[in-house]
Symmetry: C2
Subunit: 425 residues, 2 copies
């Protein structure tokens, strides 16, 4: 299988420039060659005139299975949201519901140029199936907690998942241990999970300092902040994908800045749930590689990475009262290189030898007219609708906004049907 993209402009994210009029040859699942006038008979040819190739986005924190709860519980305080709406709904969710919710979320991720997701939820065998089918990549994590019992059972589930799904679909699926959060896991349990991560030689995925309450509780319970606590039990010796970090402190930033620690910024969710403003400028300036994610559709309320990038790029300027902070290119790095590195995917850059995970934007779109700074355009004016094609692992999964791996209409039909059934149960 080969794809030749002819005469395209592309974002060289490392050098922070747009390179014009190149041919990009993809063979098997990698970028084989970038050059001029490549004379090759490829299986598929994409004409790149008036298009822009961009490393596809990496959604580093989400809960794909929650999309049936989209627009179901809004404008509510966190406790009412969780106790009265989300948990009672979740209690009724079947494996099948999670499968169809996941499929719907995957449709949205693909349609906003996303080639990889880091997902934490349950029924993860069904999620692994959905990821396999979608053609994109998933770092999949069964949320582990023991405060309400069934801790060992969940660990066992993770082992089974790992055995059955880790590295399937040409390595597109990875299984990773994921303690839900410090407030839902005992210290002993966290230590067991750390052991498991060492055994798997794997990154660990956890929610960290999402809310002020979480930080206050940690101080009360452990006389430490959440990140200090994670350090004290040895978790920070491993590579960590730390969702949110909304309330990470200056001294915690110092603590993690030279570690394998990847905070995942979730701007829409943090704003909508009133969690607060994440110190993105401070983390970037400390050299921390922040990634970015949508969070689940119950708090976002969609899976649109182009929107996340837009919001991330403007909100922080107002927080710091400084229009120069968190510039467009830094947000694009969060969504590409940093996310890829966090998830251990050798992509995020359009460069020979890298995995062929590429999205192609339509420069004829009104949002790219006139063609001034295209890096600005990707952050500040683009819409997910401007993404025409998505290539993942060397294969087209979307072509001219048509999904090639998933049946969008059927998925929407099934999600509407399943939601009605659930609400009647």
């Amino acid at each position: 299988m080969s794809i030749l993209i002819k005469n395209i402009s592309y974002l060289d994210i490392k050098n922070e420039i747009i390179i014009e009029n190149k041919d990009i040859l993809i063979e098997e699942n990698k970028i084989k060659k970038i050059g001029e006038n490549l004379e090759i008979n490829a299986d598929t040819v994409i004409y790149g005139k008036n298009k822009l190739a961009v490393p596809s986005y990496v959604n580093s924190h989400t809960h794909l299975g929650m999309s049936m709860m989209r627009n179901y519980a809004d404008d509510l305080d966190l406790n009412t949201w969780l106790n009265e709406k989300i948990w009672p709904f979740e209690a009724k969710l079947s494996d099948d519901d999670i499968y169809w919710s996941t499929m719907l979320s995957l449709v949205e991720n693909i349609k906003s140029g996303t080639s990889a997701v880091c997902d934490m939820y349950y029924s993860m065998d069904r999620v692994a199936e959905a990821i396999s089918q979608s053609g994109i990549r998933g770092v999949l994590t069964r949320g582990l907690m023991d405060v309400a019992g069934s801790g060992e059972e969940r660990l066992e589930e993770t082992r089974t998942l790992y055995k059955n799904y880790h590295n399937v679909s040409n390595g597109r699926v990875k299984i990773v241990p994921a303690p839900h959060a410090i407030y839902t896991c005992s210290t002993d349990y966290l230590k067991e999970i750390i052991k498991m991560s060492k055994e798997f030689d794997s990154v660990i995925n956890i929610h960290v300092s999402e809310t002020i309450k979480e930080v206050e509780d940690a101080k009360n319970n452990y006389k430490m902040t959440p990140v200090e606590y994670l350090d004290s039990i040895g978790m920070l010796d491993l590579k960590v994908i730390a969702a949110h970090c909304t309330h990470i402190t200056e001294s915690e930033i110092e603590l993690v800045k030279n570690k394998d620690f990847y905070p995942v910024y979730n701007p829409s969710s943090n704003l909508k749930l009133a969690s607060g403003f994440t110190p993105i400028d401070e983390m970037i300036k400390s050299g921390i590689k922040v990634a970015i994610g949508t969070d689940g559709s119950s708090s976002n309320n969609n899976q649109n990475m182009v929107e996340e990038i837009h919001i991330a790029s403007i909100v922080n300027k107002a927080v710091k009262l400084d229009a120069e902070v968190v510039p467009a290119i830094e947000v694009l790095k969060m969504a590409t290189i940093n996310g890829s590195e966090a998830m251990g995917i050798d992509a995020g850059i359009i460069e020979e030898g890298k995995l062929a995970d590429i999205q192609i934007y339509d420069l004829n779109s009104v949002n790219f007219t006139p063609r001034n700074n295209l890096i600005s355009a990707l952050c500040y004016s683009a819409s997910s609708n401007d993404v025409l094609d998505l290539i993942v692992d060397g294969k087209l999964v979307m072509e001219n906004r048509e999904l090639l791996t998933l049946d969008e209409e059927y998925i929407k039909f099934m999600v509407n049907k399943k939601t009605k059934e659930l609400l009647n149960r």
Copy 2:
């Protein structure tokens, strides 16, 4: 001319509910009847199954003519942005450039369900032409200032505009006096403009308290805050559309809350230019009718009202650390009823007798799947791409995302061409 929308759900914004399965009959430019199974031979029939009719949006503050500067100057502090980028670019802008920029902005406004804009810029005769052609409504204001001279000339321009364009195109075009801001107009000049507004029996449009600097300068120059100063010279006895009000104070809110004073919130622009967070919750709770706008594409960087609504609805929750504030319905009111009232348009509600300004959303979109709370969906998950049709003044201006009044491809071509020419001048 008549349009019959059959069997549609619609947002009854006054009662804050979705009403299902109604027929909406539009005759001439008004909503004639809302009922069930209307047996009428209309000129056009729209089938409303799986669709949602919503009052079309009102973009209460923009600079349509600035879209050639989209993605031209970003991540810069306000002074560098203005002095080194925007003003030198503007110095080269021709009447024709402004016309094509305006046309491009109108394409975007229409494609995000917007039926009316309040626009402040120059070459407003060309803007009036563009508005007439587009089929939407414009309250058009020539930015008035005298600090750099030519104050009288600009007043004269406004008079000529008023004579030639006020109420043309079936009343879709209105001309209104608009002092640019207190820092670009002398007190005497502002008083002249107030006199003109009384003569025209017209609303007045002005930028107010956009930045901290503006507030500090007012305190230094007048020993008053900007709003107190406007009150002291009698402007607040008139109806005022006050763009931004980012730094409106508690006592200023008290001062204006029972006046004909409509602040216009511009979330993207205020965030991106690092102007700050506008006290939206406080204003809403004081009963002030806040409107909403995109501002120009040089600071936004697009004209997407659906995005503004989304950002407005989530940012304020984080500012107040309270997920219940600025709920979805309030933001939708800002974009419909409040904006219409500010601009003196008898629309913003789907109700018999009102002007027929209606947008129709596609409920089959992934963003509306599953169909939980549709009011939440409009704010939190919708994309402008979900707007299928736009009816303004009883006429379709967009049908199934195809523009009927403007040639989108030619406009994009012209804007690209004109921008290249300008940058080479």
